[in-house]
């Protein structure tokens, strides 16, 4: 007899484990299948451990600049092993936290590799042991993995993915980062602050290409000032590794090739969904052209009773998007009356480099293209008292409004702590506030958040401090 559940979640990343908890809250009997560690990439190899590393590099940066704050610090140094150890410890703590949450919610955790065998049926292979499971509903939350460059397969020695970059065996001296999305820029920032000589290569004409063009420009200048070399509209066509490093063939905008030597390479050119060997073909779940699983607004695939959430279903590839989709799918399965599809325009995106980048909604260019007549506000950190007091006077807050309706179409920020600020605008968008509501909101002084107010005021020619 197979064990029977109301719901089986395949994959325990931030999508899967959140879906499992929500379903358990709604009274379902839930099992979750994980082939590695509870919490998935996010907790163990992604969001969280990188934040731990970036905190180290940030403090290191401050220590090196202690004199700017009237402090003196000499012999500032780091021990890479201990830096990584701290990061792993943070990940470990959260991993055991998720274990506790599964227990608290009476969710059965099954370690092993799960594979759908038929509608509502799943087999988990743990070593030599096979366990058959049955469930009324199954949520596929298998996530994604780093995309490989065919000519630069990650070896963990000289060619790294994010996963190697997180547990470096040694400190790179001269680092090439291929790809300038959030992951590429974060590692570039980390290693640069830790003392490596960093080059970023980006195929598109600007770094952080999904962000507002002004943010990309600002970041390019800020990182260049920090001595990071940025090569936009540039590709890498060949990587040769040796015991001492790599030789990269770099193809510039005009087509000219040049060879450059680096100690290490980080490949951060996007991700591919994990759709292989989980039995999708056997049950008839359809992927789209880019092999993401196709779903509707509640996470339902084309097969009844099979849902999919998170990275495996397509962009944006973000943990919080996965978690929210998990909640929606769980609620739909449980027949919860208050279930609401998510507005994907309200998913914030954050990059935890120094300076930080955060945004929600449309960029100015996208808004224009969509036919909106715009009112745009931009307020610089230099106009904010708290920013100056913090010694972080670099950055801006940009808001894009529809001139006719006052809808906040998008918000784009770069600078210290903006990843914590963006949520204010996300709430504003979710509640569909207009400029009036935002203008009438009282912002605490002195805070960085005052810039959010000023930016809105600025869009209507009413900024006070600039």
């Amino acid at each position: 007899m197979a064990d029977t559940y109301d719901l089986i979640v395949l994959g325990s990343g931030p999508g899967g484990y959140v879906a499992a908890i929500r379903a358990a809250q709604l009274g379902l009997k839930v099992a979750i299948v994980e082939r590695e560690r509870l919490g998935g990439i996010c907790l163990n190899w992604g969001c969280i451990p990188t934040k731990a590393l970036l905190r180290t590099s940030e403090i290191y940066h401050y220590m090196q600049n202690a004199s700017a704050y009237g402090l003196s610090a000499s012999n500032v140094a780091f021990d890479l092993e201990k830096v990584v150890e701290r990061s792993r410890k943070v990940a470990g703590q959260l991993n055991s936290g998720v274990t506790g949450l599964m227990k608290k919610n009476k969710i059965t955790v099954i370690e092993g590799v799960g594979k759908l065998t038929a509608k509502g049926k799943l087999t988990v292979t743990t070593g030599d042991k096979k366990t058959d499971l049955e469930a009324g509903n199954i949520i596929i939350a298998t996530g994604a993995r780093a995309r490989d460059l065919p000519f630069a397969k990650a070896d963990g020695k000289r060619i790294w993915t994010y996963r190697h970059a997180m547990v470096p065996p040694e400190m790179p001296t001269k680092l090439l980062v291929i790809g300038s999305g959030a992951i590429g820029v974060e590692f570039a920032s980390f290693y640069n602050d830790m003392g490596a000589e960093v080059t970023i290569v980006e195929m598109m004409d600007r770094i952080l290409p999904v962000e507002d063009a002004e943010v990309s420009d600002f970041m390019a200048k800020a990182l260049t000032k920090q001595k990071i070399k940025i090569l936009a509209s540039t590709g890498v066509s060949k990587i040769e590794t040796s015991d001492t490093g790599v030789k990269a063939t770099i193809k510039a905008k005009d087509g000219t090739l040049s060879e450059q030597e680096f100690s290490h390479v980080i490949v951060a050119v996007g991700i591919v969904p994990n759709v292989e060997n989980i039995g999708l073909e056997d049950v008839g779940v359809e992927p789209d052209k880019r092999y993401h699983i196709k779903t509707d607004e509640y996470g339902r695939t084309n097969v009844d009773g099979i849902y999919a959430i998170g990275d495996v279903t397509g962009p944006p590839w973000l943990a919080h998007k996965a978690s929210h989709e998990g909640v929606i799918a769980a609620e739909k399965i449980a027949g919860y009356a208050g279930v609401h599809p998510m507005n994907k325009g309200n998913i914030p995106g954050c990059t935890y480099s120094r300076p930080q980048v955060a945004s929600v909604g449309m960029t100015e260019a996208q808004a224009k293209e969509a036919g909106h007549e715009l009112k745009v506000g931009k307020f610089p950190f230099i106009g904010n008292g708290k920013a100056i007091a913090l010694g972080e006077a670099e950055g801006f807050v940009k808001t894009v409004f529809d001139a006719k309706t006052g809808e906040l179409l998008g918000a784009h920020m770069v600078g210290a702590e903006v990843t914590e600020l963006i949520q204010g605008y996300v709430v504003a968008r979710q509640l569909e506030t207009t400029e009036t509501d935002l203008m009438q909101t009282v912002f605490a002084h002195p805070t960085l958040s005052e810039m959010m107010h000023e930016s809105v005021l600025g869009a209507y020619g009413r900024a006070i401090h600039f």
Partner: protein, 468 residues
């Protein structure tokens, strides 16, 4: 505490109005009965009187503001011992929280209430479930009932029926609805707890109505009144030289109600030819007799009387369809269509069946005069059990009028003209007019309608019957 002066409900159906003009300014001392402002409702411009005493400390809503919701704070009055300095501006959200049904502080509410009570009494006798609602007249109940039944079982989050508490909507949805002239109360909200969000308004718009359609017939409607608004898209892009003007409150109401009528009320049309000679002769005689009293009867006055008597004679046509109930009236109140600048209004001759024709004539003259001046009280143009619309003076031979909901019928009068006519079995020339009754077929059967038309024809052709 300053006294909050709120947008009054100047009629039972009023949901919002235009603050046309302030008659006071900040710092003015006002006492009870002073005129404060002119407020334009969907039908008329009304004066708004003070009920409280004090000093106007702030005019919150500037003159000329359109779409001010009933219950919204429009001004603040500081009491005698208070500082009249401008107080803090109340949050814009306030209006919604207070939008609860027309109540107390409207100075004109009494008249409206009395009117509504009458209607209630009658509705009550007909067993209408909504009869206990005090400040609403039967018309509104009908609307609410219809709305309720529409959205009741299926929709997961039905919009609250109008007047029953505030409509939950996001600020952006509110602004968009205002800009697009949509009635939020009629939009089903998909947000948490039925909150109306931007996406819901996109669905409420008539889908892709072409400009041609929009002008001839407001395109398909999904959510009844809201959809009544034709797509505005056409104008801006049109290459034909044109002007775009904003709809007045009255024009919006006309558009909404007529669309509602044509979409929801199955009309049947019954036409009769009526010989007018006897009525014209009687009119001449009556007028010469009444000359000393300064009263002059029009043909229309006589037709109003004839219609009222016909309705009393055929009570099956003096009715109103009200969802799952039928209201049968025992009195005939005739709404008379009066064309006024920018639209049309229908003042009501109450109890025209028992009134003398001279009284009717005097009343219509007064009502029409004040209607054209925009000075009618809402109670004077609301209600009515049937309508009469006369286009004879424009030479229209015959037409079919649109029923004025929630009424059950409307009589359309064409021009009286000399026509070859069979009189006493011989071809002769007679003054003849065509009259067409439009009946709400949900409530009135064709045979009953035919009876009414026959009674009307008989009364007009043998007009002495009207004097008896």
């Amino acid at each position: 505490m300053p006294i909050e002066l709120k947008m009054p409900a100047l009629s039972p159906t009023m949901e919002e109005g235009t603050l046309a003009k302030w008659l006071v300014k900040e710092g003015d001392v006002v006492k009870s009965g002073d005129l404060l402002a002119e407020i334009e409702t969907d039908k008329a411009t009304m004066e708004f009187e003070a009920v409280d005493e004090g000093t106007i400390s702030q005019l919150v809503v500037p003159a000329g503001t359109e779409g001010v919701k009933v219950g919204a704070v429009i001004a603040l009055i500081a009491g005698e011992d208070e500082d009249a300095a401008p107080a803090k501006k109340p949050a814009e959200a306030a209006p919604d929280a207070k939008a609860d049904a027309p109540k107390a502080d409207a100075p004109k509410a009494d008249a409206a209430k009395a009117d509504a009570k009458d209607a209630d009494k009658e509705a009550g006798s007909a067993g209408s479930p909504a009869a206990s609602l005090e400040t609403r007249n039967a018309e509104q109940k009908d609307e609410a009932a219809a709305k309720g039944s529409e959205s009741a079982p299926a929709a997961p989050a039905p919009a609250a029926p109008a007047g029953e508490g505030r409509v939950k909507a996001s600020p952006l949805a509110r602004r968009l609805a205002e800009q697009q002239g949509l009635d939020l109360a009629s939009v089903a909200g998909s947000g948490p707890n039925g909150r109306v969000v931007k996406a819901d308004l996109a669905n409420a718009k008539p889908g892709g109505a072409k400009p041609a359609e929009a002008t001839s017939a407001p395109a398909k409607a999904e959510a009844a009144p809201a959809a009544a608004k034709p797509a505005p898209a056409a104008s801006a892009a049109s290459p034909i030289p044109h002007e775009v003007s904003k709809l007045s409150g009255m024009r919006k109401t006309i558009a909404r109600r007529l669309t509602e009528s044509k979409q929801q009320v199955p009309h049947i049309y019954l036409t009769v030819d009526i010989q007018l000679d006897a009525l014209l002769k009687l009119r001449g005689e009556l007028n010469s007799a009444l000359e000393s009293r300064g009263v002059k009867l029009s043909v229309n006055d006589l037709l109003v009387k004839a219609l009222a008597l016909s309705l009393l004679e055929v009570p099956a046509c003096n009715v109103q369809f009200a969802g799952d109930t039928l209201i049968s009236f025992t009195r005939a109140d005739i709404s008379v269509a009066v064309s006024i600048p920018g639209g049309l209004i229908t003042p009501v001759v109450v109890d025209a069946g028992t009134k003398g024709i001279a009284a009717i004539a005097t009343e219509i003259k007064d009502l029409a005069g004040r209607a054209r001046a925009g000075k009618l009280q809402p109670s004077e143009y609301q209600g009515g059990t049937a309508s009469l619309s006369n286009m004879g003076m424009y030479g229209i031979k015959q037409f079919e009028a649109v029923i004025n909901p929630p009424q059950g019928m409307i009589m359309a009068i064409g021009a009286g003209e000399k026509r070859p006519y069979i009189v006493d079995g011989k071809l002769d020339v007679a003054t003849v007019m065509s009259a067409t009754g439009s009946f709400d077929h949900r409530a009135i059967d064709g045979a009953d309608g035919a009876q009414l038309m026959a009674a009307f024809k008989r009364l007009v052709e043998k007009p002495l019957g009207m004097l008896a």
